[in-house]
Structures are given as C-alpha cells and as structure tokens.
C-alpha cells in the first residue's frame, strides 16, 4: 500500500476528518468570541465557562426535566443567551467607557465564578450525556468509522457559521455593529438603539458558545472544566485569524482543527502546542493575523 510520509493515505483522511470535527468547535467558539469582540471590544474570557454552561443546561434539562437533546439544542442556547444578557445588562455595560482591558478582567472573574460554582456542586469528573438515539451508530467510510453524531456536528456548525457570517457581513447589521464598537454615541445619534444592539450581540455570541456546549455534551464529558481548557486554544485561533473578521475566525477555526489533526498523526507530543507555535509564526509574518486589519 502506498503511504504519505509513512502514513497510509486512508488513515490520513480519517485524521483530517477528525480535525475538521474539532475545527467545528473552534470555529463556533471563535465565531462567538469574534462577534462579541467586534461589538463590545471585550475579550470574553467567560466564553469557555458559558460553553460549559450550555452543556450543563442540556444535561440538567435531561436529568431533571427529561427534556432531550433536540429541545436542548434550542433551549440551552436560549438559557445561556439570557444569562449573557443579564450579565451584560448588570455588569459589563458599566465598563464600556473604560479601557477594554477591564472587560477582559471582569469576564475572567465571571469565568472563575461560573466554573467554580459548578465545580462546587457537581464535582469535576463530569456527567455523562448520551448521544441522541437518532444519531447513534456510525458510517463505515472505508478508511474510518465515522460516528453519525460527529458528522452532524460538522454540518450543524457549518450551517450556523455561514448563517452568522451572512447575517453580519452581508447585511447592514454588521456595519452597525462595527460602527457602534467604535463610536456608540454617534451611532445612537443616527437613530440606532445601540444599548439594545450591544446587549443582543452579547447574548447572541454567548448563545453560540452555549450551542457549542450542547453539541459537545454527547462527545465530551459534561464537566465544569471543559471550557477552561478549550478557551485558551480558541484565543490563539482568534489571534491567528485576526480580530475583526468573522470569516477569518471561522476559517481559521476549521483550518487549525485540520492542522492539529495532522499533528496528532505525525508528532502527537506537539499537538497541544502546535496552535501556539503557528500563532507565533503568524505574528512574526503578519502581526494583524491572517484575516485581520491593522488598526
């Protein structure tokens, strides 16, 4: 059998496909981060915690109310979004006039609280969440066994990412969002309800994290720590992609998922740091990130 760098091509395809699945999560999360950053100029450190919250809400719905996956897919993002709206209204909105770093610090504190609270009540070993019946089993693709659920994750995230990208870049909304980031007072003076828009955006970005959480629940353990480990990688993804570009966030998310997948085959020991190495290289060559704009 012919090989590519000593790896059978089929194994390689398998790994690439798996990378794409991971990339789906990166893309969804960095998309949410990018939307929030674009609008509020806040690096939402709590993003990982809210992703975790999404998974937990799904789990709680299932275990306490018997509400299954498909409803959770709708309800959990709504709950997380509502929580985000509350956070924005009560806490974040007080910081807009200050240095953006305070937003980062505030959300960092929030992340600690949310994660800590769940740790306190549910421990860290995590809770099991079953794969929905409809998506059990998998397809034998010849080169690998693809669980149906993973296939669904790729499709769902692609659809959501594209829809969001379209809504933001191809409609007026995106221009409002970007303009309001820069000069909310003036945009207000053009007749746009900026506070509402900011709140809605934060709620939406956070709901995306919640959605990613629900999608992740059946794959990973529903654990209070699931977000904090992921979030730093997603930060790196966002730096590589370059802030201010929705499409950049999405494409980089998928791209890095793929690259990481390859690393796991060729040099697994480095798969944890490959994203950071790429980040360093990108910064050297293009300080603004691959799709970013120098400001």
């Amino acid at each position: 059998m012919s090989t590519i760098f000593g790896i059978p091509p089929q194994a390689l395809f398998g790994q690439l496909l798996l990378g794409l699945i991971n990339g789906s999560f990166y893309a969804l999360l960095s998309l949410g981060l990018a939307v929030i950053f674009g609008m509020l100029n806040v690096i939402n450190f709590a993003h990982g915690a809210l992703y975790m919250l999404g998974a937990f809400v799904a789990w709680l719905l299932l275990t306490t109310a018997g509400i299954g996956y498909w409803w959770a897919l709708l309800l959990a993002p709504l709950v997380v979004g509502a929580f985000g709206v509350a956070l924005e209204k009560t806490l974040l909105s007080r910081l807009y006039k200050l240095d953006h770093l305070y937003g980062l610090l505030l959300t960092f504190g929030l992340a600690l609280i949310v994660e800590g609270a769940f740790r306190h009540f549910y421990g860290v070993s995590g809770q099991p969440y079953p794969i929905p019946d409809l998506l059990r089993g998998g397809q034998n693709l010849g080169f690998m066994f693809l669980p149906n659920y993973r296939g669904w994750v790729v499709v769902a995230s692609l659809v959501v990412c594209l829809a969001t990208w379209y809504a933001i870049e191809r409609t007026k909304l995106g221009a409002y969002l970007r303009a309001a980031t820069e000069n909310p007072v003036l945009v207000q003076a053009f007749g746009i309800n900026v506070p509402l828009m900011i709140t809605a955006t934060y709620g939406f970005g956070v709901a995306l994290a919640g959605l990613a959480g629900v999608l992740a629940a059946p794959i990973y353990q529903v654990s209070p720590l699931m977000g904090s480990n992921l979030i730093i990688v997603v930060f790196a993804v966002v730096v590589i992609g370059g802030m201010g570009s929705i499409l950049g966030a999405v494409l980089t998310g998928y791209g890095l998922g793929l690259l990481e997948g390859l690393t796991k085959v060729f040099y697994p020991e480095a798969s944890n740091i490959v994203v950071f190495v790429i980040m360093a290289v990108v910064l050297l060559i293009k300080p603004a990130g691959l799709f970013g704009r120098e400001r």
Partner: protein, 306 residues
C-alpha cells in the same frame, strides 16, 4: 516624601514579621509580592497587560530548582540562572507580543505562556505532574545555612527589597518617563524620535527578569518547582493581586499579594469554593474599586500616586 516614609514602615513591618507571623507564610507573600510588582511594572507603567507572566515566574522556578538540585549549584547561582532564563524568555516573548497592543497583547502572552506550560509538562527534567521536589536550600555564598528559617527569611527579604527598589527606580527614571509617554501616545513618541519598540521590549524584559527572580527564590524557599507556577491560573492570580492592591501604584501589588495569599490560605481550610470567592473579588474589584486598595487610599488622601 510620603513614598519613602511608606517604604520605611514597610521595611520595619517586614523585619519584625517573622517573629509575629509564620515565617514561611511571610516568605510566600514576599515572593508573590515581588512577582506582582514585576507584573505591575508592565501594566501599570507601560500599559501592557501580560496574561502570561506565569511563564517567567514558573520557568525560573524550574531552572533554579533543576540547577540547584541536579547540578548542585549554590542557591544564589541557581536563582541567578533562573532570572537569566526568564529574561531571555522575556526577550523572545516580548519581541513577539509587543507587535500588538491592548487585548491582543494579553492574548498573545497568554498563548505563549501556555506553550511554556505544555513544555514544562512534557519535558523530562521538569518532572511533569510531579514537578521538581526536595530541592536543597543549600548555603548562601557557601556560608549562610538557608535551612535555618530566619536565614532563609532575611535572604528572601533582601531579594524582595532589591527587586522592589529596582522597580521603584525604574518607574521614576528617565526611562520610566519615556515609557509613560509611549503608553499615552505611541505615534507621537515615535515622531519625537523614540524607538518605542525598544522601550517596550526593555520594560518587558525587566519585568520578566524580576518575575523570574521571584520564581527562582520561591523554588528555593519551598524547595520545589511545579506546574502550578506555570499555569495560566497563576498568571490570573498575579493580575488579581495587582488589581486588588492598585494597578500603577508602587505598594499596591505588595498589599494585593499579601491579601490574596492570606485569603488562599484561609480559604483552603474553609469549606468555601476557592475559585468562586476569588472570582467574586475579581468582579468586585473591576466594578467597584478599580483603583485597588492602595490606589483608593491614595485618591482619598487626595495626593498624587505614591
């Protein structure tokens, strides 16, 4: 000079502290205070928020622990090597990170330090999850036996004071003045002929080196170096200390470090969830008293920054 007065008071308190408080505890406070002061040099006076300072603190701890334990170097040399390592690392990270500002800078430093974390986890000499344990304290300059608690204590105090004075001097130096100008308006500073990247990098390296000094010293005090020191939570902790005490004040980080360390000790023995309490304090600081304790006091007294 209210600043000098405050320094004198601080000095007296610290000289007397080990007779009243548990010396190991005070040493821990001192190490973190120095770490926080080093961090504050960057955020408070150059406007750069590093979210990856654990890399310098913990990196130096590993180097010091390794050189002292495995190579058998005397403690002072071990700490020096740790500091040098952090300064070098600071040079590399700084050169990358200062290409961006603000939040980007924070995220880049965070990501780079995460790289150091994974290296520490995977490299052989760091001992992975176990860390480097049972590091001998040894004899300072071959004479002073550091296994004596008081000898160790006053050594740590001396290291702390050295670091603190360096920072004090830096802030109120011609260099510090340019740093402030750059923080305020970088293009203008450039147009006046300042090569701003060099200044920022210099500040970054200084800060990294001092953080390394703190980390190396801590490795000798606790006789170990572990992943805790390089984790991103450590970077978060130092931000909290500085924020709590007062960003951009000289004494703030010291006060903040003392508070956070006390709190962690106290919480460890209670049933309260530690991260939640720390998180609440974080949020409260950001929302309610951004100037931090020392900053707030200084503002109340109506004076300038101490």
């Amino acid at each position: 000079m209210p600043g000098l007065l405050a320094l004198a008071v601080l000095l007296l308190v610290l000289i007397a502290a080990p007779y009243v408080l548990y010396p190991v505890f005070v040493m821990k406070v001192l190490c973190f205070a120095l770490f926080a002061c080093a961090f504050n040099l960057l955020i408070g006076f150059a406007g750069l928020l590093s979210f990856g300072h654990a890399a310098f603190f913990g990196g130096a701890a590993y180097i010091t622990a390794h050189t002292v334990k495995v190579w058998g170097l005397p403690p002072e040399l071990g700490i020096l090597l740790g500091t040098a390592f952090s300064a070098t690392l600071g040079l590399a990270f700084g050169a990358l990170a200062i290409r961006r500002q603000g939040i980007y800078f924070a995220m880049i430093t965070l990501a780079l330090s995460q790289m150091v974390f994974f290296m520490a986890l995977q490299l052989k000499f760091t001992g992975g999850e176990d860390g480097i344990q049972a590091v001998p304290r040894g004899h300072l300059f071959g004479v002073i036996d550091l296994s004596q608690p008081m000898a160790m204590y006053y050594t740590v105090l001396a290291v702390f004071l050295f670091g603190f004075v360096v920072i004090w001097r830096t802030v109120h130096s011609p260099f510090g003045q340019v740093l402030k100008a750059i923080r305020e308006n970088e293009p203008r500073a450039i147009s006046l002929g300042y090569r701003t990247d060099h200044y920022k990098l210099m500040a970054f390296v200084l800060s990294a080196a001092l953080a390394g000094l703190a980390g190396g010293t801590k490795a000798i005090v606790f006789q170990l170096a572990t992943l805790t020191d390089v984790q991103w939570q450590m970077s978060g902790a130092v931000v909290l200390m500085t924020l709590l005490g007062g960003i951009g004040t000289l004494f703030g980080p010291v006060v903040g470090a003392a508070l956070v360390v006390t709190l962690e000790n106290y919480l460890a023995a209670s049933n309260l969830p530690v991260p939640v309490v720390i998180g609440v304090i974080f949020v409260a600081c950001v929302l309610l008293f951004r100037r931090g304790i020392v900053g707030e006091i200084a503002a109340r007294l109506g004076g300038k920054r101490p």
